[in-house]
Symmetry: C2
Subunit: 401 residues, 2 copies
């Protein structure tokens, strides 16, 4: 089997941890598998380099930032190769360029365009463990590019796809994907399996383990991902294709996103283009709008609600308050949160949302906004009820059984 391992910044956070990673890789290699390892920078390194750059400029050029930031992963890759060689494991370190990773020209958030795995394959054929510096590639003119925060996950999945690997194991400091945050609901259970689509919803709804872009790419390339802990030998959670032959689980998990603020606009003129006008201005000011809800109109007036990250509420408020026509009333609230239920089973079962609404109602939790997709239901509620809502939903869908 050919397995791609990916170790994040915490897993390679100091020399002792790099040594542990080397031991884990060595064990996997000796068990008979071919191993390619993708590494992040040692935790703290990237932030240190960013601070260096900010010393000189608030808006450092993105091309030079890429040359700066890509150095951290190279250091880890070289050190891990040296550690493996010392253990008698034949290993070779590669930069993104050497691993054949070509990207577009969007410095600091480049997209992988292609991978030429020839050199990696040559080294694997010689029996070597290949260590690749994650998060980076080169563009057409040969300059170094980086893939954005969390980009090493993306490197790992893309490499796994290009090598037709049997699995892409993503190691971090948590041992898998849980039905909800165990710090809120101690009965939360680690899942053995979750589908790409569910994982995507959970990631976008606030679960931090896997980067959304990498899950999307894994889905596209049909790469089996496994989320595992680099600090234990626990089994981890497989992220893969939904099994069409099995009855889908109704609800897989509950996600909580506290970083939300609500903007409600009442008595908005229900004429074409008014929503477009509002959201165009917000986009121009680079304010990220998450949920958008508009109720069906009556008597030419409608209600329009949306959420933004809490840190962007003051700016959003400024813009909306300056908007002096076609809006009857404006209301802003930072003390809210978003609770979501996710599950592919919802697609074919009605009543999943109703169960959530009545469970929250029984606890006297008022739902301020609702937004649904095929496999998720998101609800905006007062922030003070966050934990209670998570535990209530976790229980009503029997996730702790």
């Amino acid at each position: 089997m050919l397995i791609v391992h990916k170790y994040g910044g915490t897993s390679v956070g100091n020399l002792e941890r790099i040594e542990s990673v080397a031991l884990r890789v060595s064990k996997a290699k000796k068990a008979g598998d071919d191993i390619v390892v993708v590494v992040s920078a040692m935790s703290g390194e990237t932030n240190k380099l960013i601070a260096y750059a900010k010393h000189f400029s608030d808006t450092p050029s993105r091309r030079e930032m890429d040359m700066l930031l890509s150095s951290g992963e190279r250091v880890t890759a070289a050190l891990l190769a040296i550690a493996l060689q010392e253990m008698g494991v034949d290993a070779v370190a590669m930069t993104g360029r050497q691993a054949g990773i070509k990207t577009d020209n969007a410095h600091t958030y480049a997209r992988i365009e292609s991978i030429d795995p020839t050199r990696m394959q040559g080294e694997i054929a010689k029996g070597k463990v290949v260590i690749v510096a994650g998060f980076q590639g080169i563009n057409q003119e040969g300059s170094v590019t980086t893939l954005g925060r969390g980009g090493s996950d993306l490197s790992a999945v893309a490499i796994a796809g290009s090598l037709n690997a049997d699995a892409c194991e993503i190691y971090s400091d948590v041992d898998g994907i849980y039905t909800t945050d165990p710090r809120i609901e101690p009965k939360a259970k680690k899942m053995d399996f979750i589908s790409y689509d569910e994982m995507l919803e959970l990631a976008s709804l606030g679960a931090k383990v896997l980067q959304s872009r990498s899950v999307e790419l894994a889905k596209k390339l049909k790469v089996k991902m496994i989320a595992k802990s680099s600090f234990s030998d626990a089994e981890g959670t497989i992220i893969g294709e939904e099994d069409k032959n099995m009855e889908a689980v109704l609800v897989s998990g509950i996600a909580l996103d506290r970083d939300q603020a609500r903007v409600s606009l009442r008595e908005v003129s229900d004429r074409p283009g008014i929503a477009a006008e509002i959201f165009t201005i917000l986009a121009e000011e680079q304010i990220n709008v998450d949920m958008i809800i508009q109720n069906a109109s009556s008597d030419g007036l409608t209600n329009l609600g949306f959420t933004v990250p809490q840190s962007e509420l003051p700016r959003a408020k400024g813009i909306i308050e300056a908007f002096d026509h076609d809006i009857g009333g404006k209301d802003f609230d930072a003390d809210i949160c978003k609770v979501s239920i996710v599950g592919v089973g919802m697609k074919s079962h009605s009543g999943v949302a109703a169960t959530a609404f009545s469970a929250l109602a029984k606890e006297n939790i008022n739902i301020e906004m609702i937004s649904t997709s095929e496999i998720k239901v998101s609800m905006i509620i007062a922030e003070k009820y966050a934990e209670l809502a998570v535990r209530t939903l976790h229980n009503v869908y029997e996730l702790d059984v």
Copy 2:
């Protein structure tokens, strides 16, 4: 004019110093010259990375060491480019590879084989300051190589040669080449000019300012080097082609090397091959032999003397003491030093050496060994006379006038 600047680790040792370098480069660019800058890693960085590698292995693979160590120069190059851009100077950072530097395959002490300056020239033509990460290139298979300690000087000279630059300014924490060490002889004077050959002798005799390999390359490529301080606006010293039309200065400088130990072998059989036998064993044990003196033989016996770095004397002593044939007497002395006078004028003037010998004799300084080349005279004396000998010679050749 096209000028290459090179800044060493001390000159870019922290963010404030990088800022100063940016100001200096900006000033030079605004004065109308085209500027290419070659930078070292921030001082301490390379040693930190070496310590990281040594944590895992006493003999880390040289290929991975190159990937590891080359990261420091990239960081400096990116930061300097960002600092310049913030000052409104259009700048672009390049790795060794991007600057077109191809080397042989000797990881950690690679030799530059060729430079393709196309990309640098393109950026210069656009009016940009080009910042190149020193000390590195890539080999034929595309792996990163480094040029050995002090290799950034070499990068700078090679780049200056490939671009046909008007000068290569080497910035460090001293403001030029002195007639001798000013800490020993306060009357030492900074030279305005020194020839390549004299500089080579001075560098190999213990003057630390310029790396010998870079001076050799500058001589070969006819690159005018200028040794300057990054902490002042002083003029510096030009290292260039000896001016054949001018009468050469008799003696240019006095060098002192304290890191020497003497081995004297008496009554050595004067048969062919005995010297070869001794020095082959020393070479196999990787002991660096500096001066070697053998006197003309009489009655089938000869005296053979040589010097080694002080730290290697114990090992040399062990080897020589185990050498149990053909040698009458053995004598070892670590308390010696080497004082040298250097000057192209010696070539055409007899009596230069005699002046040195009689000046030292007048001070009752005994000369234990003498070795001469066309443009230098080196003398081994007791270490306690080191400063006195330097001042005496500096005075007798009127270097302080």
